[in-house]
Protein backbone atom coordinates (compact mmCIF):
# COMPACT_ATOMS: atom_id res chain seq x y z
CA UNK A 1 0.00 0.00 0.00
CA UNK A 2 1.11 3.52 -0.66
CA UNK A 3 2.59 5.03 2.44
CA UNK A 4 3.48 1.76 4.09
CA UNK A 5 7.12 2.21 3.21
CA UNK A 6 7.10 5.67 4.71
CA UNK A 7 5.64 4.39 7.95
CA UNK A 8 8.13 1.56 8.08
CA UNK A 9 10.96 4.03 7.65
CA UNK A 10 9.52 6.17 10.43
CA UNK A 11 9.34 3.14 12.66
CA UNK A 12 12.97 2.26 12.01
CA UNK A 13 14.20 5.74 12.84
CA UNK A 14 11.92 5.83 15.87
CA UNK A 15 13.39 2.60 17.20
CA UNK A 16 16.93 3.75 16.64
CA UNK A 17 16.43 7.07 18.36
CA UNK A 18 16.00 5.25 21.64
CA UNK A 19 19.00 3.05 21.17
CA UNK A 20 21.97 3.47 23.40
CA UNK A 21 24.40 5.69 21.59
CA UNK A 22 27.46 3.54 22.14
CA UNK A 23 28.73 3.99 18.61
CA UNK A 24 29.91 7.46 19.44
CA UNK A 25 33.43 7.87 20.71
CA UNK A 26 33.76 11.12 22.61
CA UNK A 27 37.19 11.54 21.29
CA UNK A 28 39.40 13.79 23.34
CA UNK A 29 38.14 12.39 26.63
CA UNK A 30 37.65 8.89 25.41
CA UNK A 31 40.26 7.42 23.14
CA UNK A 32 39.06 5.36 20.22
CA UNK A 33 39.65 1.68 20.35
CA UNK A 34 42.62 1.05 18.11
CA UNK A 35 43.46 -2.31 16.66
CA UNK A 36 46.83 -3.73 17.44
CA UNK A 37 48.22 -3.17 13.97
CA UNK A 38 46.91 0.37 13.73
CA UNK A 39 49.44 2.65 12.12
CA UNK A 40 49.42 5.93 13.97
CA UNK A 41 52.82 7.39 13.47
CA UNK A 42 56.18 6.09 12.47
CA UNK A 43 58.80 5.78 15.17
CA UNK A 44 62.41 4.80 15.10
CA UNK A 45 64.65 2.92 17.46
CA UNK A 46 68.13 4.30 17.05
CA UNK A 47 70.02 1.58 18.80
CA UNK A 48 68.72 -1.22 16.66
CA UNK A 49 69.40 0.44 13.33
CA UNK A 50 72.24 -0.91 11.28
CA UNK A 51 72.02 1.84 8.67
CA UNK A 52 71.35 -0.58 5.85
CA UNK A 53 69.14 1.91 4.01
CA UNK A 54 66.49 -0.57 2.91
CA UNK A 55 63.77 1.57 4.42
CA UNK A 56 64.93 4.59 2.49
CA UNK A 57 65.01 2.65 -0.73
CA UNK A 58 61.59 1.20 -0.07
CA UNK A 59 59.87 4.42 0.80
CA UNK A 60 57.72 5.58 -2.11
CA UNK A 61 57.54 9.16 -0.99
CA UNK A 62 61.02 10.07 0.27
CA UNK A 63 59.87 10.36 3.83
CA UNK A 64 62.94 8.81 5.34
CA UNK A 65 66.48 10.01 5.22
CA UNK A 66 69.59 9.41 7.21
CA UNK A 67 73.06 10.74 7.68
CA UNK A 68 75.89 8.32 8.11
CA UNK A 69 79.50 8.65 8.86
CA UNK A 70 82.28 6.19 8.31
CA UNK A 71 83.66 4.84 11.52
CA UNK A 72 87.43 5.49 11.33
CA UNK A 73 88.36 2.30 13.15
CA UNK A 74 86.16 -0.43 11.78
CA UNK A 75 85.33 1.20 8.42
CA UNK A 76 81.70 0.47 9.22
CA UNK A 77 78.85 2.80 8.41
CA UNK A 78 77.78 4.65 11.48
CA UNK A 79 74.35 6.24 11.74
CA UNK A 80 74.49 9.85 12.82
CA UNK A 81 70.99 11.12 12.26
CA UNK A 82 67.70 9.67 11.09
CA UNK A 83 64.83 11.81 9.84
CA UNK A 84 61.19 10.87 9.38
CA UNK A 85 59.33 13.60 7.57
CA UNK A 86 55.87 12.47 8.61
CA UNK A 87 54.00 15.02 6.53
CA UNK A 88 54.78 13.02 3.41
CA UNK A 89 54.25 9.62 4.98
CA UNK A 90 51.50 7.45 3.52
CA UNK A 91 51.68 4.93 6.33
CA UNK A 92 52.01 2.22 3.75
CA UNK A 93 54.16 0.00 5.96
CA UNK A 94 56.70 -0.73 3.21
CA UNK A 95 59.62 0.46 5.32
CA UNK A 96 58.57 -1.33 8.48
CA UNK A 97 57.96 -4.57 6.65
CA UNK A 98 61.44 -4.83 5.25
CA UNK A 99 63.43 -3.48 8.17
CA UNK A 100 65.81 -6.31 9.08
CA UNK A 101 66.21 -5.24 12.70
CA UNK A 102 62.72 -3.90 13.41
CA UNK A 103 64.13 -0.53 14.28
CA UNK A 104 61.25 1.16 12.48
CA UNK A 105 57.81 0.57 13.88
CA UNK A 106 54.38 2.13 14.05
CA UNK A 107 52.93 3.47 17.27
CA UNK A 108 49.30 4.11 18.08
CA UNK A 109 49.83 7.82 18.46
CA UNK A 110 47.65 9.33 15.75
CA UNK A 111 47.48 12.94 16.90
CA UNK A 112 49.96 14.28 14.45
CA UNK A 113 48.77 17.80 13.84
CA UNK A 114 51.25 20.56 14.52
CA UNK A 115 51.34 24.27 14.07
CA UNK A 116 54.44 24.27 11.92
CA UNK A 117 55.50 21.96 9.20
CA UNK A 118 58.90 21.54 10.71
CA UNK A 119 57.36 20.16 13.86
CA UNK A 120 55.93 17.26 11.92
CA UNK A 121 59.41 16.19 11.03
CA UNK A 122 60.91 13.72 13.45
CA UNK A 123 64.66 13.92 13.71
CA UNK A 124 66.57 11.33 15.69
CA UNK A 125 70.11 12.25 16.62
CA UNK A 126 72.70 9.77 17.58
CA UNK A 127 72.45 9.37 21.35
CA UNK A 128 75.85 10.04 23.00
CA UNK A 129 75.51 6.93 25.20
CA UNK A 130 75.71 4.84 22.10
CA UNK A 131 79.15 6.19 21.26
CA UNK A 132 80.38 5.71 24.79
CA UNK A 133 79.10 2.20 24.87
CA UNK A 134 80.69 1.39 21.62
CA UNK A 135 83.94 2.95 22.63
CA UNK A 136 84.00 0.96 25.83
CA UNK A 137 83.16 -2.22 24.04
CA UNK A 138 85.72 -1.57 21.41
CA UNK A 139 88.63 -1.23 23.78
CA UNK A 140 87.72 -4.36 25.70
CA UNK A 141 86.76 -6.53 22.77
CA UNK A 142 89.21 -5.34 20.22
CA UNK A 143 91.66 -8.14 20.59
CA UNK A 144 89.16 -10.94 20.71
CA UNK A 145 87.30 -9.31 17.90
CA UNK A 146 90.23 -9.21 15.57
CA UNK A 147 91.06 -12.77 16.47
CA UNK A 148 87.54 -13.90 15.76
CA UNK A 149 87.54 -11.95 12.53
CA UNK A 150 90.71 -13.61 11.45
CA UNK A 151 89.29 -17.02 12.20
CA UNK A 152 86.16 -16.30 10.26
CA UNK A 153 88.13 -14.98 7.37
CA UNK A 154 90.15 -18.11 7.25
CA UNK A 155 87.12 -20.35 7.41
CA UNK A 156 85.48 -18.46 4.64
CA UNK A 157 88.48 -18.64 2.41
CA UNK A 158 88.72 -22.32 3.01
CA UNK A 159 85.09 -22.82 2.13
CA UNK A 160 85.36 -20.83 -1.07
CA UNK A 161 88.34 -22.82 -2.05
CA UNK A 162 86.54 -26.03 -1.32
CA UNK A 163 83.59 -25.05 -3.46
CA UNK A 164 85.86 -23.97 -6.25
CA UNK A 165 87.72 -27.22 -6.14
CA UNK A 166 84.93 -29.67 -5.77
CA UNK A 167 81.57 -28.01 -6.19
CA UNK A 168 79.59 -31.24 -6.57
CA UNK A 169 80.66 -32.62 -3.26
CA UNK A 170 80.55 -29.45 -1.18
CA UNK A 171 77.30 -28.15 -2.54
CA UNK A 172 75.57 -31.45 -2.01
CA UNK A 173 75.50 -30.39 1.62
CA UNK A 174 72.88 -27.79 0.84
CA UNK A 175 71.08 -29.33 -2.07
CA UNK A 176 70.03 -32.77 -3.04
CA UNK A 177 69.65 -33.85 -6.59
CA UNK A 178 72.63 -33.87 -8.85
CA UNK A 179 71.06 -31.70 -11.46
CA UNK A 180 70.29 -28.96 -9.02
CA UNK A 181 73.76 -29.02 -7.59
CA UNK A 182 75.16 -28.67 -11.03
CA UNK A 183 72.99 -25.66 -11.75
CA UNK A 184 73.97 -24.07 -8.51
CA UNK A 185 77.58 -24.64 -9.15
CA UNK A 186 77.24 -22.94 -12.50
CA UNK A 187 75.55 -19.99 -10.89
CA UNK A 188 78.15 -19.63 -8.21
CA UNK A 189 81.03 -19.96 -10.59
CA UNK A 190 79.62 -17.22 -12.73
CA UNK A 191 79.24 -14.78 -9.88
CA UNK A 192 81.93 -14.25 -7.33
CA UNK A 193 79.75 -12.32 -4.97
CA UNK A 194 77.15 -15.02 -4.84
CA UNK A 195 79.83 -17.50 -4.18
CA UNK A 196 81.14 -15.54 -1.25
CA UNK A 197 77.66 -15.15 0.15
CA UNK A 198 76.86 -18.80 -0.20
CA UNK A 199 80.12 -19.75 1.44
CA UNK A 200 79.50 -17.46 4.36
CA UNK A 201 76.03 -18.80 4.83
CA UNK A 202 77.17 -22.35 4.70
CA UNK A 203 79.42 -21.61 7.62
CA UNK A 204 77.02 -19.62 9.74
CA UNK A 205 73.48 -20.75 8.92
CA UNK A 206 72.90 -23.94 7.03
CA UNK A 207 69.14 -23.65 6.88
CA UNK A 208 69.32 -20.30 5.28
CA UNK A 209 71.93 -21.48 2.89
CA UNK A 210 69.64 -24.26 1.77
CA UNK A 211 66.83 -21.88 1.06
CA UNK A 212 68.98 -19.40 -0.79
CA UNK A 213 70.53 -22.14 -2.82
CA UNK A 214 67.13 -23.38 -3.83
CA UNK A 215 66.10 -19.87 -4.84
CA UNK A 216 69.23 -19.45 -6.93
CA UNK A 217 68.57 -22.66 -8.70
CA UNK A 218 64.96 -21.85 -9.38
CA UNK A 219 65.78 -18.49 -10.77
CA UNK A 220 68.50 -19.85 -12.96
CA UNK A 221 66.25 -22.57 -14.25
CA UNK A 222 63.56 -20.09 -15.07
CA UNK A 223 65.98 -17.84 -16.84
CA UNK A 224 67.28 -20.75 -18.82
CA UNK A 225 63.78 -21.73 -19.75
CA UNK A 226 63.03 -18.26 -20.89
CA UNK A 227 66.23 -18.13 -22.83
CA UNK A 228 65.19 -21.36 -24.50
CA UNK A 229 61.85 -19.91 -25.38
CA UNK A 230 63.18 -16.80 -26.95
Amino acid sequence: MYGKGLLKGLWITFKHSFEKKDLVVRYPEQMPHLQERFRGSLAFDFEKCIACGICIRNCPNNVLSMETAKDEDSKKKKLMQYTIDLQYCMFCNLCVEDCPTNSLYFTHDFELSQFHRDDIKRVYHRPPELDQQEAAQKTSDQDTQTAADDKKEKQLRAMINAINKNPQKVLARVLDGEEQVEVLAAVLMADEKKLARMAEMMITDKEKAKKVALAFVKKELKEREKGGDQ
Binding site: L6, G9, L10, I12, T13, F14, H16, S17, F18, E19, K21, L23, V24, R26
Partner: protein
Protein backbone atom coordinates in the same frame (compact mmCIF):
# COMPACT_ATOMS: atom_id res chain seq x y z
CA UNK B 1 -0.94 29.15 37.83
CA UNK B 2 -3.81 29.06 35.42
CA UNK B 3 -4.20 32.79 34.92
CA UNK B 4 -0.72 34.10 35.62
CA UNK B 5 -0.21 35.78 32.32
CA UNK B 6 -3.70 37.21 31.87
CA UNK B 7 -3.55 38.55 35.41
CA UNK B 8 -0.25 40.26 34.74
CA UNK B 9 -1.65 41.83 31.58
CA UNK B 10 -4.75 43.03 33.39
CA UNK B 11 -2.61 44.50 36.17
CA UNK B 12 -0.51 46.33 33.62
CA UNK B 13 -3.57 47.83 31.94
CA UNK B 14 -5.02 48.85 35.30
CA UNK B 15 -1.76 50.48 36.34
CA UNK B 16 -1.50 52.39 33.07
CA UNK B 17 -5.05 53.60 33.35
CA UNK B 18 -4.33 54.61 36.92
CA UNK B 19 -1.57 56.82 35.53
CA UNK B 20 -4.19 58.65 33.53
CA UNK B 21 -3.93 57.01 30.11
CA UNK B 22 -7.09 56.44 28.13
CA UNK B 23 -8.23 52.84 27.64
CA UNK B 24 -7.20 52.87 24.01
CA UNK B 25 -3.65 53.99 24.72
CA UNK B 26 -3.35 51.53 27.57
CA UNK B 27 -4.35 48.76 25.21
CA UNK B 28 -1.81 50.05 22.73
CA UNK B 29 0.94 49.88 25.32
CA UNK B 30 -0.23 46.42 26.27
CA UNK B 31 -0.05 45.47 22.60
CA UNK B 32 3.56 46.58 22.42
CA UNK B 33 4.38 44.65 25.57
CA UNK B 34 2.69 41.62 24.10
CA UNK B 35 4.72 41.94 20.92
CA UNK B 36 7.89 42.12 22.92
CA UNK B 37 6.81 39.00 24.78
CA UNK B 38 6.18 37.25 21.50
CA UNK B 39 9.59 38.20 20.20
CA UNK B 40 11.03 36.79 23.40
CA UNK B 41 9.02 33.61 23.11
CA UNK B 42 10.13 33.24 19.51
CA UNK B 43 13.78 33.71 20.37
CA UNK B 44 13.71 31.30 23.29
CA UNK B 45 11.76 28.79 21.23
CA UNK B 46 14.21 28.98 18.40
CA UNK B 47 17.12 28.45 20.74
CA UNK B 48 15.41 25.38 22.16
CA UNK B 49 14.29 24.17 18.78
CA UNK B 50 17.64 24.31 17.07
CA UNK B 51 19.07 22.37 19.96
CA UNK B 52 16.15 19.96 19.81
CA UNK B 53 16.43 19.49 16.08
CA UNK B 54 20.09 18.63 16.41
CA UNK B 55 19.39 16.32 19.29
CA UNK B 56 16.55 14.58 17.47
CA UNK B 57 18.58 14.18 14.31
CA UNK B 58 21.46 12.95 16.41
CA UNK B 59 19.40 10.40 18.23
CA UNK B 60 17.81 9.15 15.03
CA UNK B 61 21.23 8.89 13.45
CA UNK B 62 22.78 7.03 16.38
CA UNK B 63 24.72 10.09 17.41
CA UNK B 64 24.61 12.19 20.53
CA UNK B 65 23.97 15.56 19.00
CA UNK B 66 25.42 18.59 20.72
CA UNK B 67 26.88 17.53 24.04
CA UNK B 68 29.72 19.86 24.82
CA UNK B 69 28.36 23.16 26.02
CA UNK B 70 26.25 22.98 29.12
CA UNK B 71 24.17 20.05 30.24
CA UNK B 72 23.37 17.90 27.20
CA UNK B 73 24.76 20.64 25.00
CA UNK B 74 21.93 22.99 25.86
CA UNK B 75 24.03 26.11 25.34
CA UNK B 76 25.21 25.08 21.92
CA UNK B 77 22.68 27.24 20.10
CA UNK B 78 23.66 30.26 22.14
CA UNK B 79 27.28 29.72 21.23
CA UNK B 80 26.27 29.33 17.60
CA UNK B 81 24.25 32.52 17.75
CA UNK B 82 27.21 34.42 19.15
CA UNK B 83 29.41 32.97 16.45
CA UNK B 84 26.95 33.97 13.75
CA UNK B 85 26.60 37.46 15.17
CA UNK B 86 30.31 38.03 15.09
CA UNK B 87 30.72 36.69 11.59
CA UNK B 88 31.40 38.95 8.68
CA UNK B 89 28.28 40.01 6.86
CA UNK B 90 29.23 39.37 3.28
CA UNK B 91 27.17 41.09 0.65
CA UNK B 92 28.32 39.94 -2.78
CA UNK B 93 29.08 42.79 -5.13
CA UNK B 94 26.60 42.06 -7.90
CA UNK B 95 23.58 41.49 -5.74
CA UNK B 96 20.51 43.67 -5.67
CA UNK B 97 21.68 45.09 -2.38
CA UNK B 98 18.52 46.44 -0.84
CA UNK B 99 16.50 43.40 -1.66
CA UNK B 100 19.29 41.12 -0.56
CA UNK B 101 19.71 42.89 2.74
CA UNK B 102 16.07 43.32 3.65
CA UNK B 103 14.74 39.90 2.65
CA UNK B 104 15.70 38.13 5.91
CA UNK B 105 14.31 41.01 7.94
CA UNK B 106 10.94 40.84 6.23
CA UNK B 107 10.95 37.09 6.57
CA UNK B 108 11.38 37.24 10.32
CA UNK B 109 8.84 40.06 10.67
CA UNK B 110 6.26 38.11 8.73
CA UNK B 111 6.85 34.98 10.79
CA UNK B 112 6.57 36.85 14.07
CA UNK B 113 3.34 38.44 12.89
CA UNK B 114 1.78 35.00 12.69
CA UNK B 115 1.74 34.82 16.48
CA UNK B 116 -0.75 37.61 16.85
CA UNK B 117 -3.76 35.35 16.60
CA UNK B 118 -2.52 32.10 18.09
CA UNK B 119 -4.29 31.39 21.38
CA UNK B 120 -1.41 30.63 23.68
CA UNK B 121 -3.69 29.84 26.56
CA UNK B 122 -7.08 30.65 27.91
CA UNK B 123 -7.59 34.28 26.92
CA UNK B 124 -3.93 34.61 25.96
CA UNK B 125 -4.17 36.01 22.49
CA UNK B 126 -2.72 39.24 21.29
CA UNK B 127 -5.67 39.89 19.03
CA UNK B 128 -8.76 37.77 19.15
CA UNK B 129 -9.59 38.38 15.52
CA UNK B 130 -12.94 37.27 14.21
CA UNK B 131 -11.16 36.05 11.07
CA UNK B 132 -8.08 34.82 12.89
CA UNK B 133 -7.58 31.79 10.72
CA UNK B 134 -7.70 33.86 7.55
CA UNK B 135 -5.17 36.21 9.13
CA UNK B 136 -2.85 33.30 9.76
CA UNK B 137 -3.11 32.01 6.22
CA UNK B 138 -2.79 35.38 4.52
CA UNK B 139 0.16 36.53 6.60
CA UNK B 140 1.73 33.12 6.03
CA UNK B 141 1.45 33.66 2.30
CA UNK B 142 3.65 36.73 2.56
CA UNK B 143 6.73 34.68 3.35
CA UNK B 144 6.71 33.60 -0.30
CA UNK B 145 7.70 37.08 -1.30
CA UNK B 146 10.52 37.15 1.22
CA UNK B 147 12.00 33.97 -0.24
CA UNK B 148 11.55 35.36 -3.71
CA UNK B 149 13.36 38.52 -2.64
CA UNK B 150 16.19 36.47 -1.20
CA UNK B 151 16.48 34.45 -4.37
CA UNK B 152 16.35 37.40 -6.68
CA UNK B 153 18.52 39.65 -4.58
CA UNK B 154 21.31 37.08 -4.37
CA UNK B 155 21.84 37.21 -8.13
CA UNK B 156 22.77 33.55 -8.08
CA UNK B 157 21.25 30.81 -10.18
CA UNK B 158 21.01 28.41 -7.30
CA UNK B 159 19.28 31.02 -5.18
CA UNK B 160 16.92 31.88 -7.97
CA UNK B 161 16.09 28.23 -8.58
CA UNK B 162 15.48 27.78 -4.88
CA UNK B 163 13.27 30.84 -4.76
CA UNK B 164 11.31 29.76 -7.82
CA UNK B 165 10.79 26.37 -6.30
CA UNK B 166 9.77 27.92 -3.01
CA UNK B 167 7.21 30.11 -4.67
CA UNK B 168 5.78 27.34 -6.81
CA UNK B 169 5.62 25.04 -3.83
CA UNK B 170 4.19 27.49 -1.35
CA UNK B 171 1.55 28.80 -3.68
CA UNK B 172 0.40 25.35 -4.63
CA UNK B 173 0.37 24.04 -1.07
CA UNK B 174 -1.39 27.07 0.34
CA UNK B 175 -4.58 26.00 -1.39
CA UNK B 176 -4.91 22.48 0.08
CA UNK B 177 -3.74 23.93 3.39
CA UNK B 178 -6.54 26.46 3.48
CA UNK B 179 -9.13 24.05 2.15
CA UNK B 180 -8.25 21.35 4.64
CA UNK B 181 -8.69 23.87 7.44
CA UNK B 182 -12.08 24.85 6.07
CA UNK B 183 -13.54 21.55 7.17
CA UNK B 184 -12.70 22.41 10.76
CA UNK B 185 -14.09 25.90 10.26
CA UNK B 186 -17.36 24.44 9.00
CA UNK B 187 -17.76 22.29 12.09
CA UNK B 188 -16.72 25.04 14.49
CA UNK B 189 -18.77 27.60 12.61
CA UNK B 190 -16.22 30.33 13.09
CA UNK B 191 -12.93 31.63 11.82
CA UNK B 192 -12.09 32.92 15.29
CA UNK B 193 -9.39 30.69 16.71
CA UNK B 194 -10.62 30.95 20.30
CA UNK B 195 -14.06 29.80 19.14
CA UNK B 196 -12.47 26.84 17.38
CA UNK B 197 -10.64 25.88 20.57
CA UNK B 198 -13.80 26.13 22.61
CA UNK B 199 -15.69 24.07 20.03
CA UNK B 200 -13.30 21.21 20.77
CA UNK B 201 -14.42 20.97 24.37
CA UNK B 202 -15.88 17.54 23.88
CA UNK B 203 -13.95 16.04 21.05
CA UNK B 204 -10.80 16.99 19.21
CA UNK B 205 -11.25 17.84 15.58
CA UNK B 206 -8.51 15.42 14.62
CA UNK B 207 -11.04 12.67 15.28
CA UNK B 208 -13.80 14.39 13.35
CA UNK B 209 -11.56 15.50 10.52
CA UNK B 210 -8.77 12.94 10.16
CA UNK B 211 -8.42 13.47 6.43
CA UNK B 212 -8.24 17.21 6.89
CA UNK B 213 -5.58 16.68 9.52
CA UNK B 214 -3.44 14.56 7.23
CA UNK B 215 -3.75 16.94 4.30
CA UNK B 216 -3.08 19.89 6.59
CA UNK B 217 -0.03 18.22 8.03
CA UNK B 218 1.43 17.43 4.61
CA UNK B 219 0.64 20.86 3.24
CA UNK B 220 2.05 22.49 6.35
CA UNK B 221 5.30 20.57 5.93
CA UNK B 222 5.52 21.97 2.44
CA UNK B 223 4.59 25.46 3.61
CA UNK B 224 7.34 25.28 6.18
CA UNK B 225 9.87 24.13 3.58
CA UNK B 226 10.81 21.25 5.79
CA UNK B 227 11.95 17.84 4.70
CA UNK B 228 10.77 15.94 2.69
CA UNK B 229 9.57 19.13 1.02
CA UNK B 230 12.62 21.29 1.62
CA UNK B 231 12.83 22.28 -2.02
CA UNK B 232 13.97 25.89 -1.57
CA UNK B 233 16.92 24.87 0.52
CA UNK B 234 17.64 21.40 -0.85
CA UNK B 235 21.27 21.37 0.12
CA UNK B 236 22.03 18.25 -1.88
CA UNK B 237 20.85 19.86 -5.10
CA UNK B 238 20.82 23.60 -4.75
CA UNK B 239 23.70 23.82 -2.27
CA UNK B 240 21.56 26.01 -0.04
CA UNK B 241 18.92 27.26 -2.41
CA UNK B 242 17.67 30.73 -1.66
CA UNK B 243 20.09 31.07 1.24
CA UNK B 244 23.23 30.26 -0.73
CA UNK B 245 24.73 33.75 -0.65
CA UNK B 246 23.80 34.63 2.90
CA UNK B 247 26.28 34.70 5.70
CA UNK B 248 26.41 35.44 9.39
CA UNK B 249 23.39 36.91 11.03
CA UNK B 250 21.40 37.40 7.86
CA UNK B 251 21.63 33.70 7.24
CA UNK B 252 20.75 33.04 10.84
CA UNK B 253 17.68 35.24 10.50
CA UNK B 254 16.35 32.93 7.84
CA UNK B 255 16.70 30.02 10.18
CA UNK B 256 15.19 32.00 12.98
CA UNK B 257 12.24 32.70 10.71
CA UNK B 258 11.93 29.09 9.59
CA UNK B 259 11.82 27.84 13.14
CA UNK B 260 9.46 30.63 14.09
CA UNK B 261 7.18 29.47 11.31
CA UNK B 262 7.55 25.93 12.52
CA UNK B 263 6.36 26.85 15.98
CA UNK B 264 3.50 28.91 14.61
CA UNK B 265 2.28 26.24 12.24
CA UNK B 266 2.56 23.55 14.90
CA UNK B 267 0.68 25.74 17.35
CA UNK B 268 -2.01 26.26 14.76
CA UNK B 269 -2.16 22.54 14.20
CA UNK B 270 -2.59 22.00 17.91
CA UNK B 271 -5.24 24.68 18.00
CA UNK B 272 -7.17 23.42 15.03
CA UNK B 273 -6.99 19.69 15.58
CA UNK B 274 -5.85 18.89 19.11
CA UNK B 275 -8.06 21.06 21.27
CA UNK B 276 -5.66 23.97 21.57
CA UNK B 277 -4.99 24.97 25.14
CA UNK B 278 -7.66 22.70 26.52
CA UNK B 279 -6.54 19.88 28.70
CA UNK B 280 -7.00 18.51 32.15
CA UNK B 281 -4.93 19.41 35.17
CA UNK B 282 -2.16 21.55 33.78
CA UNK B 283 -2.53 25.27 33.06
CA UNK B 284 -3.72 26.10 29.59
CA UNK B 285 -0.49 27.71 28.38
CA UNK B 286 1.41 24.59 29.35
CA UNK B 287 -0.95 22.39 27.40
CA UNK B 288 -0.45 24.28 24.18
CA UNK B 289 3.31 24.18 24.67
CA UNK B 290 3.23 20.42 25.17
CA UNK B 291 1.03 19.84 22.17
CA UNK B 292 3.04 22.17 19.96
CA UNK B 293 6.29 20.53 20.88
CA UNK B 294 4.93 17.06 20.26
CA UNK B 295 3.79 18.11 16.81
CA UNK B 296 7.15 19.70 16.14
CA UNK B 297 8.88 16.50 17.11
CA UNK B 298 6.87 14.71 14.46
CA UNK B 299 7.93 17.31 11.91
CA UNK B 300 11.55 16.73 12.84
CA UNK B 301 11.14 13.01 12.85
CA UNK B 302 9.78 13.13 9.32
CA UNK B 303 12.49 15.43 8.12
CA UNK B 304 15.24 13.11 9.29
CA UNK B 305 13.67 9.99 7.90
CA UNK B 306 12.45 10.82 4.42
CA UNK B 307 14.32 11.62 1.26
CA UNK B 308 13.46 14.76 -0.62
CA UNK B 309 10.65 14.54 -3.10
CA UNK B 310 11.20 15.62 -6.67
CA UNK B 311 9.94 19.00 -7.75
CA UNK B 312 7.50 17.82 -10.39
CA UNK B 313 6.20 15.07 -8.12
CA UNK B 314 5.76 17.67 -5.45
CA UNK B 315 3.64 19.83 -7.70
CA UNK B 316 1.58 17.00 -9.08
CA UNK B 317 1.11 15.64 -5.58
CA UNK B 318 -0.31 18.94 -4.49
CA UNK B 319 -2.60 19.49 -7.46
CA UNK B 320 -3.56 15.93 -8.24
CA UNK B 321 -3.84 14.34 -4.83
CA UNK B 322 -3.84 16.80 -1.98
CA UNK B 323 -6.20 19.33 -3.53
CA UNK B 324 -8.86 16.82 -4.66
CA UNK B 325 -8.65 14.99 -1.36
CA UNK B 326 -9.07 18.15 0.67
CA UNK B 327 -11.90 19.30 -1.58
CA UNK B 328 -13.60 15.94 -1.23
CA UNK B 329 -13.16 16.22 2.51
CA UNK B 330 -14.81 19.61 2.39
CA UNK B 331 -17.79 18.25 0.46
CA UNK B 332 -17.99 15.26 2.78
CA UNK B 333 -17.95 17.53 5.79
CA UNK B 334 -20.75 19.59 4.33
CA UNK B 335 -22.89 16.52 3.72
CA UNK B 336 -22.03 15.18 7.14
CA UNK B 337 -23.03 18.41 8.82
CA UNK B 338 -26.34 18.51 6.97
CA UNK B 339 -26.93 14.88 7.84
CA UNK B 340 -26.22 15.54 11.50
CA UNK B 341 -28.49 18.54 11.50
CA UNK B 342 -31.21 16.53 9.75
CA UNK B 343 -30.89 13.77 12.33
CA UNK B 344 -30.99 16.39 15.04
CA UNK B 345 -27.62 15.41 16.52
CA UNK B 346 -25.99 18.79 16.01
Amino acid sequence: MEHWFTDIAQALVNWLMGLGLSAGWADFVLLIVQWLCIVMIVTINVIILIWLERKVSGFIQLRLGPNRLGPYGAFQTIADAIKLLTKEDIIPSRTDKWIFMTAPLFFIVVSVMLYAVIPMGDGMQVVDFNVGLLYFISIGSLSTICLLMAGWGSNNKWSMLGAMRAVAQMISYEIPLAISLLGVVMIAGSLRLSDIVVAQGNIWFVLLQPIAFITYFIAATAELNRGPFDMPEAEQELTAGAYTEYTGMRWALFFLAEYTNLVAVSALCATMFFGGWQGPGLPSWLWIIIKTYLIMLVFMWMKWTFPRIRMDHLMSFSWKILLPVSLANLVLTGFGLEFFKWMGWW
